[in-house]
């Protein structure tokens, strides 16, 4: 592995983390949207809010991490991708603003109308943002971004079969991950009925995602032959792992082993992302620019590697502590903090 590939791989680990954790947060927003009327959906929305409130900001930073590594180590390719695909990226960024702000503000507001408005903002943007990010991936993976600033078509680079497939799959995968994660959260809180609801949703989304995935192979064969060849060739083992892990997750869900289902689902999603990376290797801009060609100077890559390793040493324990702290059941007697950790002390 070359230095550039090492740096890019670390970036890709960040991308996977964003896909899993950030993706599940987006998915939670999608279920918030579909939770039903004010009264009926209240408990589900409460569960969703409690499980993502402490962690969504940290999960969101993975995306920033991906962006900064790309623009520093692969500046030219980054400039090409972002300037060509600026429309879906702008829309995704707007979605993130609407989503983060609405979510954070909702819990500080008590009037029903305002909560509904903010809730709708949060939920709709949770649907919109992963779609556009998936469309961006589709544009890159189908080789629609040529090198150079704004050299590609600013419309057809993300309005095309592969991008639509990418967008739809992203939404489905987010919704699926969230449903699986929420099963375990609901059970830990003792809400068995909610766990059952999310289990049914997880199984349903799994079926739809599988069907779209299979149909997607035909789309790719017609629209992105290079990617298709990679997925059925070099990346085939990753695709197989994804299918096996996905099937295992369904079995675990069916037998209500939610902790196992989480791991298997995460593995399935990880494998499919790795599959994408393998399929388009060694290109960073498919068919045009390889990783080596796009990599910047050695001093920058070394500085980057030092930073990434040193940063990980600080970051990972802190992140682990965050998750452990909020995955523990709330201590008895602290129920007042449930839906909004800082409400009770507002003297």
């Amino acid at each position: 592995m070359s230095l550039a590939e090492v740096v890019l791989s670390i970036m890709f680990v960040g991308l996977i983390a964003y896909g899993l954790f950030g993706g599940a947060d987006f998915g939670a927003g999608i279920w918030d949207l579909l939770a039903g009327g004010t009264r009926h959906g209240a408990r589900q929305r409460d569960l969703i809010e409690r499980s993502i409130a402490p962690v969504w900001e940290a999960n969101h930073v993975w995306l920033i991490f991906v962006l900064v590594v790309l623009w520093t180590a692969f500046s030219g390719a980054f400039a090409a991708v972002v300037s060509t695909l600026y429309i879906p990226l702008t829309l995704a960024a707007f979605g993130m603003i609407a989503r983060g702000a609405a979510f954070a503000f909702r819990k500080s507001i008590s009037t029903l109308a305002m909560r509904r408005f903010l809730g709708a903002g949060f939920a709709l943007s949770s649907l919109v943002t992963p779609y556009f990010l998936g469309a961006v991936v589709g544009g890159v993976a189908s080789g629609r971004v040529p090198p150079g600033v704004a050299a590609g078509d600013v419309v057809t680079s993300w309005v095309n079969p592969t991008s639509v497939l990418g967008g739809v799959l992203a939404v489905l995968v987010c919704a699926y991950l969230a449903a699986v994660f929420l099963c375990a959260d609901a059970r830990r809180d003792g809400a068995t009925d909610l766990a059952e609801e999310f289990r049914a949703r997880a199984l349903g989304t799994a079926a739809v995602t599988g069907a779209v995935g299979i149909a997607g192979l035909f789309v790719l064969r017609a629209d992105a032959p290079l990617l298709f060849d990679g997925l059925t060739g070099r990346a085939a083992p990753a695709v197989v792992v994804s299918v096996v892990a996905g099937t295992a997750a369904i079995v675990y869900l069916a037998t209500r082993r939610y902790a196992h289902a989480r791991v298997a689902s995460a593995l399935a999603v990880t494998a499919i992302l790795v599959g994408w990376a393998l399929a388009q290797y060694p290109y960073i801009l498919v068919g045009e620019v390889t990783i080596e060609e796009a990599a910047r100077g050695r001093a920058t890559l070394v500085a980057m590697l030092v930073t990434l390793v040193a940063g990980a040493v600080i970051l990972l324990p802190a992140l682990a502590y965050l998750y452990l702290l909020f995955q523990r059941s709330p201590e008895p007697g602290s129920g007042a903090v449930s839906s909004d950790g800082v409400r009770s002390g507002g003297i």
Partner: protein, 461 residues
């Protein structure tokens, strides 16, 4: 695609791209100030509360933590938009200089990550952690807030004084040294100026909220402390900021003489140059301003007859827009001086009488000090950013060369205007709601609505 091609023109994109960046950054910079300074104030108050067993102080800290959560979320999402815009609006800059300019942002990414993690732990661990563990969890938040500011300002300082690389014959970067690039001549003065500015903005703004409450008759201990703690921090920092201001002006004079000339509206290179306050710049000179003889030479060279370079030294297409820069600079200095006066009044009264001044005029001044500090921050930022024009990388790359030529880009500007109007309205609305519901009802308002919602309303959402 023909219709698109008509507008596919970088020149057409320059103005809206600049305005979009200005709006996004100008909005974000206020919230990042709170991200830097608010944790310090909150955890200090929490610590005093625990030490003295003072429920008013812990209650105050708890309210601040909630407000901090809202402000941090607003800062995080607006910062995300910026990281997209860096590539969307200025791909030319990223393409050519990303490996140097981008590197501090990698470090900032980690700082932001740590901050986000510990904000989550601090806010949501309020009742899960012991007081000691809870307060300790705030320390990484404070440190990473400061570190993040350092890294971002480093990148900006590099745009003002690019170092740490060489260019080959075609203008391509060779021999990039990203660590060295972080420590150019502008870095330290800019970083210190920004950090102190953040403490001033947060301190004066929070104090002003309680000053308004006190003016409305809420003279309880909570309001008293809510005013005193942030105001003390801001007042202590203000005189230092004035000294740092002199340091940064000297750095600018040395490294970016065109910016300094624009700040002072000075056209002719002059020995014994006067300092002109206010005025309008046209016909190669400032008109209607208030001149203080020889003051500029004295400030810059610490010599009343020192020679200060004027705009005439630079080709017309390398001069920044003088009026904007000069008036923004005067606004910053004027407001900074007014805040210094406020700090002196507070310090004097405290020294002689061990209490805050009792006159309503003092409270009124504190009540507007928050707005003044924010305006001074924005004016200072306009001074340094507009003063750098027409360069995006000073002396090397013009802003016009960096802007994206993508068709339709200007539409993004209108969208951003709408989004930020909404976001601002919502943020203000939410903070006002919180201010109302988080307060202990004062004796005179016991018949006001209860601070917490009824259980029925919580279920109904």
């Amino acid at each position: 695609m023909d219709a698109w091609d008509v507008v596919a023109d970088a020149a057409e994109n320059l103005y809206p791209a600049r305005m979009q960046m200005a709006l996004s950054l100008g909005w974000h910079i206020i919230f990042s100030c709170f991200g830097i300074a608010f944790p310090l104030l909150t955890v200090f108050t929490e610590w005093r509360g625990h030490r003295r067993g003072d429920a008013v102080l812990t209650g105050l800290a708890h309210t601040w933590a909630k407000a901090m959560g809202v402000l941090f979320a607003a800062g995080a999402v607006s910062g995300t938009l910026l990281s997209f815009e860096m590539g969307i609006l200025w791909p030319g800059l990223m393409d050519r200089f990303g490996e140097i300019y981008g590197f501090p942002f990698v470090l900032e990414g980690f700082a932001f990550f740590i901050e986000a993690i510990f904000v989550g732990i601090y806010l949501f661990g309020w009742n899960r952690l012991s007081p000691r563990a809870h307060m300790l969890s705030a320390l990484p938040m404070i440190a990473s807030g400061m570190a993040g500011a350092f890294f971002v300002v480093t990148a900006n300082a590099w745009m003002n004084n690019p170092t740490g690389f060489r260019l080959d014959g075609d203008g391509r970067v060779i021999d990039a040294r990203p660590w060295a690039a972080m420590f150019g001549p502008s870095t330290w003065p800019q970083v210190v100026h920004m950090l102190l500015g953040a403490y001033m903005v947060a301190g004066f703004t929070i104090a002003s909220v309680y000053a308004v409450g006190m003016l409305r008759g809420r003279r309880d201990r909570r309001h008293h402390l809510g005013l005193l703690i942030p105001l003390t921090l801001a007042a202590a920092v203000t005189p230092v900021q004035i000294v740092v201001g002199d340091w940064i002006a000297n750095t600018v004079a040395e490294n970016q003489p065109a910016k300094l000339a624009a700040m002072e509206g000075l056209y002719r290179t002059t020995a014994g140059a006067p300092l002109t306050v206010g005025g309008l710049y046209y016909d190669e000179g400032l008109h209607y301003g208030l001149e203080i003889p020889k003051a500029l030479s004295l400030l810059i060279h610490h010599d009343p007859n020192g020679v200060v370079q004027g705009l005439e030294e630079f080709p017309a297409d390398e001069r920044p827009p003088v009026n904007v820069v000069h008036l923004a600079f005067d606004t910053m200095v004027g407001l900074g001086s007014a805040l210094l006066l406020l700090a002196v009044v507070l310090g004097f009264t405290w020294w002689r009488r061990r209490r805050i001044p009792r006159t309503p005029w003092f409270l009124r001044a504190v009540a507007v000090s928050g707005v003044a500090a924010v305006l001074a921050l924005e004016a200072g930022w306009v001074t340094t950013e507009v003063g750098r024009q027409p360069w995006i990388v000073y002396g090397i790359m013009r802003t016009a060369e960096a802007v994206s030529p993508a068709p339709g880009l200007f539409l993004g500007f209108y969208a951003v205007v709408v989004i930020y109007l909404l976001l601002t309205a919502l943020t203000v609305f939410v903070l006002r709601r919180m201010a109302r519901s988080g307060d202990t009802p004062a004796p005179q308002e016991v018949d006001a609505e209860p601070p917490d919602r009824s259980p029925g309303e919580v279920a109904l959402r």
